[in-house]
């Protein structure tokens, strides 16, 4: 069955889809059936901007183990960056 497990986060950033770059609005993180990856259940992440159109979507489908590794890797990179005194946090006003 489809689990319908979906966690959502509003994000700032950019994603590159089929038609090029677009500003990000949201990430949808599902634990559900993938479209393409071969396992029955996986962690499927869609980076979307529905305000642009339903096709503004960048999708990755990961095994649960890979998803955990990705999450840990993002945190590691963030921790390194935040500790580096030469890096100032880049945010647009």
């Amino acid at each position: 069955m489809c689990t319908m497990i979906c966690e959502q986060a509003n994000l700032e950033g950019s994603a590159k889809g089929v038609e090029g770059w677009f500003p990000l609005q949201q990430a949808n993180v599902f634990y559900d059936h993938p479209f393409h990856a071969p396992w029955e259940y996986g962690v499927n992440i869609d980076f979307v901007n529905k305000s642009i159109g339903i096709g503004s979507r960048v999708s990755v489908e990961l095994s649960p183990q890979s998803a955990k590794l990705l999450a840990e890797t993002i945190i590691k990179a963030l921790e390194k960056g935040e500790k580096d005194p030469q890096i100032k946090i880049s945010v647009l006003d």
Binding site: M1, C2, N28, F30, F35, E40, I54, G55
Partner: protein
């Protein structure tokens, strides 16, 4: 029995029907050529969307002599690739049961209104479509046969209920108004074998007419030949069960 000397023709195309709330929705409609009368079937797509696989399923039913219609249950979400549309629907928690039932009712009415209909209509669905098929058999009285393939979330825990899916389908079991065929894989994680047991027991207790078949070496989606989970011998047998059941009940 299919023989090589018989004439065969089929027309298949997209059409529009008035669905739930009078909304215009797309549907894929495949039917055999000829005067009929033909039985009809409403083919309910799975959560991955109104996709190529479901068009092929729809044509398969037409090939076997059915007026087959597959409504796009995600028509209202927007247009795009089936995957993009399905991803958007999934992010919104799926479609509501009420809306889906309205679309299935409209689809059945459409095929029954055709001059070459034999006046009987069944429904077939897999995964979320299997759930919808069972629910339609309980909530709508228009169907004469129900094929539920590994219906997920036929039995829902209270914490799974939402505004769109406010009631677990198995709670409607006593209202089932047509014979039911259920096809399940024992390796499926949902419905699990114990959930299928519960589903079966509830049908027995309610005195319903049903046939359940379980395949010990099959998992979720075992009839999807485009997925690694495809299980050939189970799938071949399951299709035979489907057509035998429909022949008995609506042909």
């Amino acid at each position: 029995m299919y023989t090589t000397d018989q004439f065969e023709g089929m027309i298949a195309n997209t059409t529009t029907i008035k669905g739930y709330n009078g909304d215009e929705i797309n549907a894929y409609f495949a039917r055999p050529e000829g005067p009929g009368p033909f039985p009809a079937i409403v083919v309910i797509h799975h959560l991955p969307g109104w996709d190529e696989l479901y068009r092929e399923f729809t044509r398969k039913f037409a090939h076997h002599g059915y007026l087959a219609i597959s409504p796009d249950l995600y028509s209202r979400e927007g247009k795009g690739t089936p995957e993009d549309v399905a991803a958007a629907v999934r992010a919104e928690g799926g479609v509501s049961d009420d809306q889906c039932m309205g679309d299935l009712q409209a689809s059945a009415e459409f095929v029954l209104s055709l001059p070459n209909s034999n006046g009987k209509v069944g429904t077939f669905g897999t995964c979320s479509g299997g759930r919808h098929a069972f629910l339609a058999g309980c909530r709508l009285d228009i169907f004469d046969a129900i094929v539920e393939c590994w219906g997920g979330n036929v039995i829902m825990n209270p914490d799974q209920l939402t505004e769109k899916q406010p009631k677990s389908p198995n709670e409607y079991t006593s209202q089932l108004s047509a014979p039911l065929l259920g096809l399940f894989g024992d390796l499926d994680q949902s419905p699990t074998p114990s959930q299928v047991n519960q589903h079966e027991q509830e049908l027995k207790s309610a005195g319903k007419t049903f046939e359940f078949y379980r395949y010990p070496d099959a998992g979720h989606g075992f009839m999807y030949y485009d997925r690694p989970i495809y299980h050939q011998s189970s799938s071949v047998d399951a299709w035979q069960k489907v057509f035998s059941f429909l022949q008995k009940n609506i042909s």
